[in-house]
Each structure stands twice: as C-alpha cells, then as structure tokens.
Amino acid sequence: MNLAEFQARVQANPRPVIVDIWAPWCGPCRTLSPRLLQVSEAYVGQIDVWKINADEEPELVRALKIMGIPTLLIYRDGQEVARRTGLQSVDALRSIFDALLVSDSNGAVTRIAGLSDTERWLRLTTGAILAALPILLGWSPFLAVVGAIVLFSGVYDRCPLWQALTAKLRSVSRSV
C-alpha cells in the first residue's frame, strides 16, 4: 500500500481510525497490542483500529514519517489529529478513544494532541508576566500565584506527574 492509497482509505472510512504501527520484533509493540485490543472492544462500531506491520510496509512507514515504533496515528474526519509514539497505558488509550468521540472537532483535537503552539505561547507569556512582575517589584504574592497557575496551564499536558494524577483520578471515578 502506498501513501495515497492509505490516505484514501482513511478518508473513505466513516469512523475515526487509530492506526497501530508495529513490528513483530518490537517488545513494547507486543505489550501495546493486547491493551489496544482490550480498550477497542468497548468502542466497536464507533472507532476502527487498523494495524500496519512496519516490516511489511517500509515505504508507507517512511512516507508517514514514523520515527519509532510502536506509533499510534489518530485520524478523525480523514485528518491526522495526533500521533503517539511509545508504550501507552490502558488509561491513556481510553483517553484517546474517549476524546475521539467528543462531538466538537476542535475539542477532540485538543484533548488528544494537547495544546496548540499558539495556545501554549499565550499561556506561557501571560503566566510569565503575571508571575515575574510581583516578584521583581515586590507586589502582592497573590498575583504571582495566579501567574504560576497560568504558567502551569501552558505545560500541564506535558507534565508526567499531572498525567499520572489525572489518569488515576479517571480510573477511580470510573470504578465508583
């Protein structure tokens, strides 16, 4: 399959698609595969999961600019909205599946791919200004705390501690 054929298949598919790029010799791929199967069972008919063996489709993998495996390519409305490389936890996989079903397209992309560069830049700049001014000029620390919160909101999606905490909270809320 070449890139054009692959893209045509994705665009013709009426449902969101998660494409698992894997290889038989790859340990993390073998761990991810059953997790993906387990999570996807709850989304049958809503989200499709395709698997591509990187050894059998080297041209396609190169054309898709895959830098490492396992990689999950996440498509919605025929467009790639995010990609995740490396082993994913069951909770992280569930978050991706859940986000793909959000009706608002922009919201879905934000939930899977995290903040856009513009969004991140806005939050980091604003947070830095609000945090720095009170510290440098001796104003009320309240404004510095607000600045720190705004700063964190610019990187929360890349904070492993935050991700672990929210994943834990999600799994607790599911079990209640």
Binding site: N106, R111, L122, T126, L130, L133, P134, L137, V146
Partner: protein, 67 residues
C-alpha cells in the same frame, strides 16, 4: 467542552487589557475603590482571553471567530 468564540486578535486584546488592569490595581498605580475594582475586574478579560470563550458572546450567539 467549551467552543472557542473569540478570534486571535480578540484574545490578545483581552489578555493585554487584563494584564494592564491587574498591573494598575495590584501594582498600586491606582488606589482606592477604583484600584480594588481593577484588581478583581482585570481577571475577567484575562480569563476569557486565555480560554478563548466569552460567556456574553455565547449568550447573544455572537462571536469574533469565523466559523
């Protein structure tokens, strides 16, 4: 999930306005009742600019962001 209803220029204008109001209020450049008002009212344009969603726009089904 909140749907963004502000254009980029709108968001930046709100954030700048919010920062200016907060600096004037919390920095002591404006004192008295007006200073206290600025200290707290400044958070409104700041937050609505940061999240890109204005409740008043939503209420009146208006928005600066093109569809």
């Amino acid at each position: 999930m909140i749907k963004v209803n502000e254009a980029g220029w709108d968001r930046i204008a709100r954030i700048v306005l919010g920062i200016v109001m907060l600096v004037l209020g919390w920095g002591g450049f404006v004192t008295g009742t007006f200073g206290v008002i600025l200290q707290w009212l400044g958070f409104i344009p700041l937050i609505t600019g940061l999240i890109g969603w204005c409740p008043l726009y939503a209420l009146f089904r208006f928005g600066t962001k093109s569809a």
